[in-house]
């Protein structure tokens, strides 16, 4: 009993309105116009007035186009066949492969019962000392890279994906430049990781609304893989574009904006996606690593601000380096106690000293005399930046720890560092064990 409607009474932005009865909230409709057909989702019901959000955009839609309701919400196919494939924001193939229809799963499904969650305990080694040593990435963590346009965040993302020991990589691209999309695809292919990856890519040229479904698709699929025992790493870039799409729809729907035009439910919208990061008991896990670009490097902008409250930490990528300040992995305490006994102490100490180095830099730039202590700090800071902070450094955690001790030994006497005696005797290079 599929009924066809052909009277659209309002088109504004990407939202169209028509009169219909017996419509389910959230169901999909197909709008067929002369040239093309597009999917749309019911986003509001007000009596007989049905508001539909058109994925392909409303451009070219005529008031007498046919609208057919499907009676079902948005679903996506899930199977092993997804691996190695590239899709767009509504799950249609972007490569030349076949359209997948088998085993449809709901997107944006229910949330995990908090009492079924377990405390994360496995560290993901990335080979980047600023992550492994200072802010360890943990399985089932949700963490965002806060950065600005122009920084090599996509390169960093791919590198982490390649080096992280995970079973499956799910990449969600939102508002990607086409070059970036090609970069992701080629890098994954070159490094032989494409066959364990699924890509959902929305490029800047695609309709805005399709951007909204990218995280949901990625996470629905990841959740399934995780339930099947796989350890999944989800990469989302760039969440700022996702939020801007939310803003666009909210404004069209005449919602009262709360902060810089963003809707009041921005926090909840982001949270219900990020909270999909989970570690299932006796099954796999979903880890989310996202990129959030901050306009003008302003962390108080609503998007990074809300993200920061949701994610379990953030990495600040600035001037091509992950900054030790501000960057924080909320879960690192859970894993860095089990790596090596000097990990925590060395981490705290080196950051502390690096902070002192920053102060000294400030002093120097103001033209104050440098004391002998200042000179030591300057030496330390330079070595720290070159040997640990540089993104090209690619070493295992233990090697990074050893290198940390070496830098300290090169610059300071053991008692100047404030490290516990016990650790100094064990790890200080040159000290008799």
């Amino acid at each position: 009993m599929l009924k066809v409607y052909n009277k659209i009474i309002q088109i504004s932005g990407n939202v169209i309105v028509l009169n219909a009865r017996n419509i389910t909230y959230g169901e999909l409709a197909v709008i067929s116009s002369r040239e093309q057909s597009s999917l749309a989702e019911v986003i509001r019901i007000d009596g007989d007035r049905i508001y539909l959000q058109v994925f392909a955009g409303s451009s070219g839609i005529s008031t007498n186009d046919e609208v057919r309701f499907t009676g079902a919400p948005m679903r996506t196919s899930f199977s092993e066949n997804l691996l190695g494939r590239v899709f767009n924001g509504i799950g249609k193939p972007r490569d030349n492969g076949p359209d997948l229809r088998e085993n449809p799963v709901d997107i944006g499904g229910p949330t995990v019962n908090p009492s079924k969650r377990i405390v994360p305990s496995r560290m993901i080694h990335t080979g980047i000392p600023m992550i492994d040593l200072f802010n360890s990435l943990v399985e089932s963590q949700k963490i965002s890279i806060f950065t600005t346009s122009g920084e090599p965040y996509n390169e960093l993302l791919v590198r982490i994906a390649m080096q992280a020991e995970v079973d499956i990589i799910v990449l969600g691209g939102m508002g990607l430049r086409f070059d970036d999309y090609l970069f992701f695809r080629h890098t994954l292919a070159e490094q032989g990781a494409l066959n364990r990856s699924v890509l959902y890519v929305h490029t800047a040229a695609d309709p805005t609304v399709e951007c909204l479904t990218v995280p949901d698709l990625c996470l629905a699929v990841s959740e399934r893989f995780a339930l099947g025992g796989k350890r999944v790493l989800v990469l989302l870039t760039d969440m700022k574009n996702f939020c801007d799409s939310l803003k666009e729809i909210a404004i069209i729907m005449e919602q009262v904006p709360s902060n810089r035009g963003y809707p009041g439910d921005l926090y909840s919208q982001l949270a219900c996606r990020y909270e999909k990061a989970v570690d299932f008991k006796d099954a796999g896990s979903v880890t989310i690593l996202s990129v959030t670009t901050m306009p003008g490097n302003d962390v108080t902008h609503p998007v990074p601000d809300n993200t920061g409250y949701i994610t379990e930490g953030q990495y600040y990528l600035n001037n091509g380096r992950i900054e030790p300040f501000g960057s924080l992995s909320r879960l690192k305490q859970l894993v860095n106690k089990n790596t090596r006994e000097d990990h925590r102490a060395l981490m705290d100490n080196m950051v502390q000293l690096y902070a002192d180095y920053q102060e000294t830099l400030e002093k120097r730039s103001m033209g104050f005399r440098m004391s002998s202590w200042d000179e030591k700090l300057l030496k330390y800071g330079t070595a720290f930046e070159a040997q640990l902070m540089d993104l090209s450094v690619n070493i295992h955690l233990f090697e990074a720890l050893d290198r940390g001790w070496q830098i300290l030994a090169d610059c300071f006497a053991p008692n100047e560092t404030g490290l516990k005696n016990e650790l100094v005797t064990r790890f200080w290079p040159g000290v008799k064990k």
Binding site: V112, S115, R117, V119, V256, Y274, P302, D348, S371
Partner: protein, 639 residues
């Protein structure tokens, strides 16, 4: 079938099944057309099509024959014309033995039982009774047949873990009742009748061990409300010493993300010296509650020798759970707190984070198309926040026992800016303010409570004057450090430099505390008094140094000695050794003991009050009495 409070239900409504049909849907707001009467804030269930899935919803606005309901679940799948059944009761919490140690969602569903029954995911429309109906409770009556009782009076007791749980006359019963029967001491289920009361008209009311109470209504059946005088020891030095919280008081902890709000609350929930701890995790990360749930059963409360979980109730409505239930999670938590206070216990309610609750209100207000206030928050935000914090308090019951609820709420201000509406609304309502700062957390100074911005109206473990003096020192030290940035170390007078070092020293060994250290993580009242005494001694000692490098190294040595002292067991030999080491070391540099004629740096760290108001750093509060002056006035005095 739950028992509804008689005062809140109308028999006419209960007997007649009232229903409506869905007219409109906008995210979690549904508009329902009804024919009979409905009650503002009553609960209804929206059924998805012909399925068995019934979604709980609450009426929040009525216009003509249409009511707007906020649905406590995801609304996808509902359609026009779907049936909505009204229950006639307000959103209520179930109160009775068995609440302690539980983990509820915002609607008081037991999450662990839901997990056992329905698996990994929270499926929509699945609700379970909050209390275990199969468990037996050994009941001991304390009243006799024929006695006269009223709401809140104790009928008997059951042991609930570490506490004696009083079975009370349901709070909703009005007037006086005569006891016609009371059950013999024996084990009963919570739904069994343990007494029958007769009202003045002669009607009988069977009483069970549980009853319902509407969560948005404060329980006010006590004799009188007392002043919050006694400090609530949190074992966090900076709080108990400088910015104390009182039993029955309120405080808020605003801070940008990553400043350690949640960790601070976790530590408080672990170490606070209260009988019962209720954690309301409202719209925050699920992982944080998971940590609590996993840790608490293993942690032993030194006061009772039992696991911490036995004194804890967790209400978790995490960020990905339905938004509408965030508000109810806060109210459900405070209602349970009131229930235990009524038994004469000291309860602390930790709400993390009230901003999420305010945001939920904002979302709802936007959907109702109300005229927005500042930053689109509804205009009634302040009164609702104030009403919530006013449910705290220390009260004396009719039987003379004293109980209290202390409320501590975190605030997550947008952009870390304390001038936003939720922080400001909260500041008006609370008695202590613990401002977390990003600078302090970036510098790894935990707990990152900024001593120059925080304030408290309560009295803590030390005399108020002594605390004020220390805050002055910190303030002066901060000024000196700012000055040093301009004039450099060379340009800073030795006196100022020493003062700066003293301030830093106090900050680093007293205000900062290592939450992960088993000993330093929790400092008892006695230890704080002792430790603060040592601090005062060190700071008041006039010390002389050859040069600044020496001064710096002496204080850094003192610092490491003191950190060892902090990490040593209370009253152990080790601690005494460290203490005497500190004193001896200090004496070496004490002015009296140094015969050589170095210049004296004995200028007292604070000459007069004028000095500090004249160059007041940041928006530092009134120094005279430690009681914060009103913000506007403060702003003027800075200009």
């Amino acid at each position: 079938m739950p028992v509804y409070p008689a005062t809140l239900t109308c028999n006419f409504w209960v007997t007649m099944k009232r229903t409506g049909n869905i007219y409109g849907i906008n995210k979690n707001l549904i508009t329902v057309e009804f024919e009979d009467n409905v009650l503002q804030n009553e609960i209804g269930y929206a059924r998805i099509g012909e399925s068995h899935i019934r979604l709980k919803a609450e009426i929040i606005r009525i216009k003509g024959n249409r009511a707007d309901l906020q649905v406590f679940e995801e609304t996808r799948g509902l359609r026009q014309g779907d049936l909505v059944e009204f229950t006639g009761s307000l959103l209520s919490a179930e109160l009775g033995p068995g609440l302690l140690g539980q983990f509820f969602d915002g609607m008081q569903n037991p999450l662990e039982k839901l997990a056992d029954k329905y698996g990994e995911f929270l499926e929509r429309g699945e609700y379970l009774p909050p209390l275990d109906e199969d468990r037996l409770w050994p009941f001991t009556p304390v009243v006799k047949k024929g006695a006269t009782v009223q709401a809140g009076d104790t009928l008997g007791t059951v042991p609930e873990g570490i506490i004696t749980h009083k079975i009370m006359v349901p709070f909703y019963l009005k007037g006086r009742y005569e006891i016609t029967t009371v059950s013999a001491p024996m084990a009963y289920h919570i739904k069994d009748t343990i007494a029958v009361l007769k009202d003045q008209k002669g009607d009988s009311h069977p009483i069970t061990m549980r009853f319902q109470w509407p969560v948005k209504k404060a329980v006010e059946i006590y004799e009188e409300r007392l002043e919050p005088r006694e400090p609530l020891i949190t074992q966090i030095r900076i709080i108990d010493t400088l910015f104390p919280v009182a039993k029955g008081g309120t405080y808020c902890t605003p801070g940008p993300f990553g400043a350690g709000k949640t960790v601070l609350q976790q530590i408080t929930s672990r170490n606070a010296q209260a009988d019962i701890v209720i954690i309301a995790a409202c719209g925050e990360r699920a992982g944080e509650i998971v940590e609590t749930i996993n840790e608490f059963p293993k942690l032993i409360d030194p006061r009772t020798g039992r696991s911490l979980l036995e004194r804890t109730i967790i209400v978790g409505n995490t960020s990905s759970m339905p938004v509408a239930a965030r508000e109810s999670s806060i109210y459900t938590a405070v209602t349970m707190a009131e229930y235990y206070r009524q038994m004469g216990y000291d309860v602390i309610l930790l709400a993390d984070s009230t901003s999420r609750w305010a945001q939920a209100m904002r979302e709802r207000s936007g959907r109702l198309e109300e005229i927005p206030g500042e930053e689109a928050f509804p205009a009634y935000l302040e009164s609702i926040v104030a009403n919530f914090y006013e449910r705290a308090g220390r009260v004396r019951m009719k039987d003379g026992s004293i109980g209290s609820i202390t409320i501590g709420g975190t605030v997550s201000p947008a952009g870390g800016n304390f001038d936003e509406p939720v922080t400001q609304a909260t500041l008006k309502a609370v008695g202590a303010f613990h401002a977390l700062s990003r600078e302090r957390s970036d510098a790894r100074r935990y707990p990152a409570i900024d001593p120059l911005e925080s304030w408290s109206k309560y009295t803590g473990v030390i005399e108020k004057d002594a605390g004020t003096k220390m805050i002055r020192l910190l303030n002066r030290a901060y000024e000196v450090s700012q000055m040093m940035k301009v004039v450099g170390e060379e340009g800073t007078p030795m006196d100022d430099f020493v003062l700066y070092l003293k301030g830093e020293f106090f900050d680093s060994v007293y205000l900062q505390q290592n939450a992960f250290d088993p000993i330093d993580g929790a400092t008892s009242r006695e230890r704080q008094l002792n430790c603060f005494g040592m601090m005062e001694h060190i700071i008041n000692t006039r010390v002389t140094f050859k040069n600044k490098d020496e001064a710096r190294s002496v204080f850094s040595r003192l610092r490491s000695l003191f950190i060892e002292y902090n990490a040593s067991q209370w009253e152990s030999d080790e601690m005494k050794t460290h203490a005497s080491q500190i004193t001896n070391y200090l004496n070496e540099y004490c002015r009296e003991n140094r015969a050589d004629g170095f210049m004296l740096h004995d200028k007292p760290f604070m000459e007069n009050h004028l000095d500090s108001t004249f160059v007041r750093a940041k928006n530092f509060k009134n120094l005279n009495d430690g009681i914060p002056v009103h913000r506007e006035e403060d702003a003027e005095s800075i200009q």
